[in-house]
């Protein structure tokens, strides 16, 4: 179900050839479900995060308590209630804030993962567009959100927000480099930038029983996966790399002054960003929609399941990190990036090249 396919179908129906309104209609038809996916993702992820943290901390988390205005069975309605509360809250714009930028910032931040998501294949056919530069496009859109963060921090006219914005800008821009370089080492093996192309290069088996995923391809690509995953945790500002919104230091970082639905957009984009980086990890390193048991469960429906399963698993690992580790300091964070991950990513490129030359 791609935009191209829809346009072809529409032009076949009308018999007038491809026209501009068809593109708009097709984009709407595919875009609205995508938006709903991202919104539901945030609601589900917040619920899961609460429950996971509760179970890790010897608590029960949100729970319903019978009839009436309660959070439903097992607290399932808790995040729905939260979302409703945020929608109904007063919209506060500080008088000292730069009004236009203040309003624009959350939308820019949310736009970035939304745009990136249009190139993510959910299974063999379910994808908005299969760009021939898919992975490159997703990485580019991912770093686009930083502009929103800096705008939010600057426009709030709050010292804490400014600190948070400066920290996040430095952090995200730095961590894109090892993340990008470790993806390059995979692209060297697949020879394509298209998302479907990368997944198709990972079908089949390795040594007869393992799926032919990039993590199992060679030791260097396994290392690349580790480097990518650590960098992506840093890119989405989660513990141990959550210094831009370090609550015990910066109160709430760049979104200190935001409340109500504008604040909810920051939250939505945080979880959407998590979904993006884990989706990229699942596609590039874990074979996307391919089945972990080669040759079995490989229909389109199972493909969707495997993809969501892998993404969900990686998100769960991120939550596990968050509720276990303390937070790094801002200079230590930069040290990890520039002195550890970047040299490792460089080594990976060299190693994968050598491997491809000698073994493969």
């Amino acid at each position: 179900m791609t935009v191209d396919g829809l346009i072809r179908w529409l032009s076949g129906l009308s018999g007038t050839g491809e026209q501009a309104w068809m593109l708009l209609l097709a984009a709407l038809i595919t875009g609205i479900p995508l938006f709903l996916v991202l919104a539901t993702n945030a609601i589900v992820a917040v619920y899961v995060e609460r429950k996971v943290s509760a179970f890790m901390q010897d608590r029960v988390g949100p729970m319903g308590q019978g009839a009436g205005l309660h959070a439903g069975k097992w607290g399932l309605l808790q995040t729905v209630a939260d979302a409703l509360k945020l929608l109904l809250k007063e919209d506060i714009i500080p008088s000292a804030a730069d009004k236009k930028l203040f309003i624009a910032a959350p939308f820019i931040i949310f736009l970035a993962p939304f745009l990136a998501f249009s190139a993510v294949p959910f299974n063999q056919t379910l994808e908005m567009v299969d760009l021939n530069i898919g992975i490159f496009y997703i990485l580019a859109m991912g770093s686009f959100g930083v502009i929103g963060l800096i705008l939010a921090g600057w426009a709030s006219d709050n010292k804490w927000s400014l600190y948070g914005a400066m920290r996040s800008a430095a952090q995200i821009v730095s961590y894109e480099i090892p993340a990008g370089l470790s993806i390059i080492s995979v692209i060297m093996l697949t020879g394509t930038l298209s998302m479907q192309g990368i997944i198709e290069a990972q079908t089949g088996t390795r040594w007869g029983f393992l799926p032919n995923w990039m993590v199992f391809n060679n030791p260097f690509s396994l290392l690349a996966f580790v480097v990518y995953f650590i960098s992506s945790v840093a890119e989405v500002n989660r513990t141990p790399f959550d210094i831009p919104e370090a609550e015990s230091e910066l109160v709430a970082g760049f979104h200190t002054e935001y409340s109500g639905m504008r604040w909810a957009l920051f939250f939505l984009s945080e979880y959407a960003n998590m979904l993006i980086v884990t989706a990229v990890a699942a596609i590039v390193f874990l074979g996307g929609w391919t089945s972990p048991i080669p040759g079995w469960f490989s229909t389109a429906g199972w493909g969707l399941f495997w993809f969501l399963f892998k993404v969900g698993f990686l998100i769960l690992v991120m939550m596990w990190f968050r509720w276990t580790f303390p937070r790094l300091r801002v200079d230590q964070l930069m040290n990890v990036c520039w002195k550890v991950l970047l040299p490792l990513a460089m080594l990976n490129i060299f190693g994968v090249g050598l491997w491809a030359l000698v073994v493969g």
Binding site: Q57, D58, I243, E249, F325, R329
Partner: protein, 373 residues
Amino acid sequence: MGIVHGEEMVLNIGPQHPSTHGVLRLHVRTDGEIISHIEPVIGYLHRCFEKHCENLSYEQVIPFTDRCDYIASMNNNFGYVVAMEELLGIQVPERVEYIRVIMAELNRIASHLVALGTYGLDVGAFTPFLYMFRDRERILDLFELTCGARLLYNYMWVGGLSHDLPVGFVEATYRFLDDFEPNLNEYHELLMYNKIFIERTADVGILPPDVAISYGVTGPNLRGSGVSWDLRKDEPYSIYDRLDFEIPVGTGQMGTVGDCWDRYWVRAQEMAESVKILRQALKDLPAEGDVHEALPRKVRPPKGSIYKRTESPRGDLAYYIISDGKPVPFRLKMRSPAFTALSVLSEIASGWMISDVIAILGSLDIVLGEIDR
């Protein structure tokens, strides 16, 4: 070219801030992330404790001491009643002494659990905090069982206690200790020996022993700097001279002597020592004895004064009481260990980053109720 200095920015950390442990304001001058000058501003919780005491009878002061260091109220009670008893010349029964030590050490564990748990929060680890509060909750349950209050006990009275131990207290305390000891190791693995935690705290906020002594820093903060000074050992009061326990001092295991990690480690070790003290005290606890036996009919000390210090979880907690023979104190002064600990902050935190200042402040374990009084 030298170091480029940008414009300095003044930042107010607090009084409403998640990591100032109460209503403390840190007036901070920053150059980027680096802090060039830091000045704690106190007084937001000032309740005229000492002035109030001049209008209260000696028994009525005790609930006010509860509200000074509200994390370790038992120890505050303890310090006051020990001072008063020395002024009055009262000898309390054995059983009372043992119960007091049991309560004080339980409260020391509870206080250190709060200190270490919130320190985890300060450096970004959320889970250890909830684990430690889970254990603290059981200590508070024990207190509730004994005197009905969970935080502000008014339990130790001049010459005795408000209540005797309830039935089943000793067994419940043993059960708690048996569960607590293995938990302690789990917390240390989770937080104290975590690589990131060590990176954040080792070699950070070094408090050299000479600076600590010249500022009058006491308690775990002083012991973290490698100075073995504990009033329970060096100037024993109550029955501490009969008990066998060690004084842990910082050795700079992970970095330099007197860094944040050492202070954390000292508190962690002290909890284990308190467990040791509790086991001995529970074993030797006299079965018989009336806790109200030595209560004076009227607390009216003769003309004179006393300065008595005891070891609270935060350090030397001293009361200076002047009596002019009237039923109310002429003057009552409390020496707060958290106040001296806070006064050293600007000395050791300048030049570090904002995140470090939060970590250093947390490692000093201050309680604003006691600083402002």
